[in-house]
């Protein structure tokens, strides 16, 4: 069992293409299945949690960002592309609902947790799993948020 300051990984499930983990976000939080092999960080935002996880394949990494509530996984975005390797992703909290991270080494991202879902913009390497609306507003650092 792997434990972080605000989370615990209770169980791993290795499937051929989509590894998953059962994670408890806080001592009293729900335990939920999320994609990935390794939790990088979990941030509490009001009554929700924003979880960053990777697939532990450094030569060609996938970053999973999941919005979790007591009801389950409510929103998700994955970042992956050919050649996006990673020596380690360190998500940071910039403001209450704004986060930053670098992935791959040359690309800095800004993530804002919106109050309501907004239309997403197609971006290279950003996978929305069929969602057209999202509260996970992603943009390049230094640019405006993806949605108002």
């Amino acid at each position: 069992m792997v434990t972080g300051p605000t989370w615990q990984v209770l169980e791993h499930r290795e499937q051929s293409e989509e590894p998953a983990m059962r994670v408890r976000c806080a001592p009293s939080g729900p335990d939920l299945w999320v994609p990935g092999r390794h939790v990088l960080a979990v941030f509490e935002v009001g009554t929700e949690w924003l979880l960053f996880a990777d697939h532990d394949s450094p030569f060609e990494e996938s970053l999973e960002i999941c919005l979790l509530s007591r009801a389950g996984l409510t929103d998700q975005v994955s970042l992956a592309f050919f050649g996006w390797a990673s020596a380690g992703i360190v998500p940071e909290r910039i403001a209450e609902r704004v986060f930053g991270f670098t992935f791959p080494a040359t690309r800095r991202w800004r993530l804002e947790l919106g109050a309501r879902p907004a239309p997403v913009r197609p971006r290279l390497g950003v996978h929305r799993h069929g969602r057209w609306l999202s509260r996970l507003w992603l943009s390049g650092a230094g640019q405006g948020a993806e949605s108002p």
Binding site: F59, E60, S62, F82, G83, A85, A87, G88, P104
Partner: protein, 224 residues
């Protein structure tokens, strides 16, 4: 003129579809080879044939050698993507630091670990080298399915054109030449763009492949 433009476009799309289908097969082979090689290295280290340190070093090399070995079988765009992957800058130190922190917590340093702990870090590096990206694998599978669909559609159009032609034999030759020329031109155009733009430039190579395919298909169509 309009029919010729449509033929050129169809040849270009078929060329892209053929390349995507081929690259998806190469990707599948890559997935299988890196996974098998990592398992073999882990077995060799467990049986004492290799030290864990040697196995980890081999594992780091194997990703690049596998890419190199398969490079000759990919399209120019696939080759540019592979070159971009190789230039990712991961090295022994960054990988050891990554797994040291993952296993022993933030701030842990590899050189301060015990021999047994260092072996655990090396073992993680070996296992990680056998993993490929699920999103990229899924992307390639989707591209392959889409590519195969386009090839079937293109063949269907060719069959229709031949069936309704006054001279089916001559039409069959034209269809084969234009589509074949488009594929060959796409590969040549992509390769030429790779030479001009340098390694690891998939967008430039993609544009080169498209332009090369279109020019070749157009050039061949002028003979008919």
């Amino acid at each position: 003129m309009f029919d010729r433009a449509i033929d050129v476009l169809r040849a270009d799309v078929t060329a892209a579809a053929a390349m995507a289908t081929n690259d998806a097969q190469v990707r599948l082979l890559y997935q299988r080879q890196i996974s098998e090689a990592a398992s073999a290295l882990e077995r060799a280290a467990r049986s004492g044939q290799l030290s864990w340190s040697q196995a980890a070093d081999e594992a780091m090399i194997l990703r690049n050698t596998t890419l190199e070995a398969l490079r000759g079988r990919t399209s120019p765009v696939g080759r540019a993507l592979a070159e971009q992957m190789k230039a990712s800058g991961l090295n022994r130190q960054t990988l050891l630091a990554r797994y040291t922190e993952r296993l022993f917590g933030s701030g842990a340093r590899f050189d301060r670990l015990s021999a047994a702990e260092q072996q655990r870090v090396y073992a993680e590096v070996v296992r990680a080298s056998g993993r490929s990206n699920p999103q990229v694998n899924a992307m390639m599978q989707r591209a392959s399915r889409f590519g195969r669909g386009l090839i079937v559609l293109s063949i269907g159009v060719s069959v229709y054109n031949i069936a309704v032609a006054d001279d089916p034999g001559a039409q069959a030759v034209e269809e084969g030449a234009v589509i074949g020329g488009g594929i060959a031109g796409g590969i040549a155009g992509g390769a030429a763009a790779g030479l001009v733009c340098g390694p690891g430039a998939p967008v430039c190579v993609g544009i080169g492949a498209f332009v090369g395919g279109a020019l070749a298909a157009f050039g061949v169509s002028l003979f008919f």
